[in-house]
């Protein structure tokens, strides 16, 4: 993939996640911070399909943005064909693993498998 395409994705995920993360944080202020973290309230959040879609989107957007940022930093620290390939693949694996693990939590909780 061309570097310009990767960076367009990097910028796009950043802009898209700003509003979504803001909503995610503001949800904690709707009923008082401590109350919003109670087990029942969190479960109720997970049962709401729009909220779940938002969580999934945040997970994907931030995983892509964060791991690409890590890739950029690692590529600047050291160079070499083998190292750069390892970083690129490692970052993609990390991204997929995190999205997979987070999606598992979201989907299982939404389906009531807690």
């Amino acid at each position: 993939m061309k570097e310009s395409t990767i960076m367009k994705i990097h910028y796009g995920t950043a802009l898209a996640s700003v509003g979504l993360v803001a909503v995610h944080i503001l949800m904690r202020l709707t009923t008082g911070f401590a109350d919003s973290l109670s087990y029942e309230n969190v479960l109720a959040n997970y049962r709401s399909v729009p909220y779940v879609i938002m969580l999934e989107l945040i997970l994907i957007l931030l995983a892509v943005h964060g791991f690409n940022g890590l890739r950029v930093i690692l590529l600047e620290l050291k160079q070499g064909r083998v190292y750069e390939k390892a970083v690129s693949y490692g970052v993609v694996i990390g991204m997929i693993a995190l999205i997979g693990y987070g999606s598992r939590t979201i989907i299982m909780t939404n389906m009531g498998m807690v």
Binding site: E3, S4, I6, E76, K78
Partner: protein, 259 residues
């Protein structure tokens, strides 16, 4: 009978002059003999107009003529005398001791350039990255065929079209920007602000038809995208080239903001 001319004797300092003195610390390193650099210190007197280069040459003349330093024009035109002066890349001929506001002046070779000896560094990498971006006008051959069309003997530009690129044509290849760049402190493959600014110089030139070629060259993992707009290159540029501006404009082409 041949006349032997002697070097004119130096006049004693004028008692009314404002001569002061500073401690000049010069980094000494010979890669053939030394494992690491060491600093040698010299007390040098200066006037308010004395440049760092003059102080170094004074040391060479009176104290240690083995100090290796590269210089030429002494008027910030050639870009030869770039070095770290009190930790910041500057031209030695363009930096007055009085403006440093310090009793100690430390001079070291520029960062991110291999050291030849003492203050002289190798410029091969800068030349290579500069050549990589094709630093010349790229035209169609048909435009140069004046026999077919007499109007094409010259490439005409309006003052506005000149204004778009002339700032970036001021580059004297001194390398200070590459020395200041935070990406170049760790990334050996990064093209560097000097080459990127020169890429924009040609892309912005209305006579040039090589925009797509150059954009392809810099659109790689160690190309323009490793610039993060820290702006240090522009902070140290002695000729007002402002490489950071050129790089962001160039990025606009790749992101689709500019045509």
């Amino acid at each position: 009978m041949a006349q032997v001319s002697s070097v004119a004797d130096e006049q004693p300092p004028n008692p009314l002059s404002t001569t002061k003195s500073i401690l000049l610390r010069i980094s000494r390193f010979n890669p053939e003999f030394d494992d690491s650099n060491k600093f040698m210190e010299f007390t040098v007197s200066y006037e308010k107009w004395t440049t760092v280069l003059e102080a170094i040459l004074d040391v060479k003349k009176h104290h240690d003529h083995s100090v290796a330093v590269r210089y030429s024009c002494r008027q910030a035109t050639c870009g030869s005398c770039g070095m770290l002066i009190n930790g910041k890349p500057r031209l030695a001929c363009f930096t007055k001791i009085s403006e440093l506001d310090s009793n100690v002046v430390t001079v070291e070779p520029m960062n991110n350039f291999p050291v030849i000896r003492d203050l002289a560094v190798k410029f091969e990498r800068l030349f290579d990255t500069h050549q990589k971006i094709k630093p010349y006008l790229i035209n169609d051959d048909s435009e140069l065929d004046s026999e077919l069309d007499s109007n094409k003997k010259e490439f005409l530009q309006t003052p506005k079209e000149v204004e778009n690129f002339i700032q970036f044509a001021n580059c004297i290849k001194c390398g200070l920007c590459n020395s200041a760049c935070p990406t170049m402190t760790t990334d050996s493959s990064f093209v560097g602000p000097q080459a990127l600014a020169q890429a924009y110089r040609y892309v912005a030139d209305s006579r040039d038809k090589g925009k797509d070629t150059r954009l392809d060259i810099i659109d790689e993992s160690h190309g323009i995208w490793r610039c993060h707009f820290a702006g240090s290159c522009s902070q140290v540029c002695p000729k007002g080239v402002d490489p950071a501006m050129g790089i962001q404009f160039l990025r606009g082409y790749l992101l689709g903001f500019r045509n």
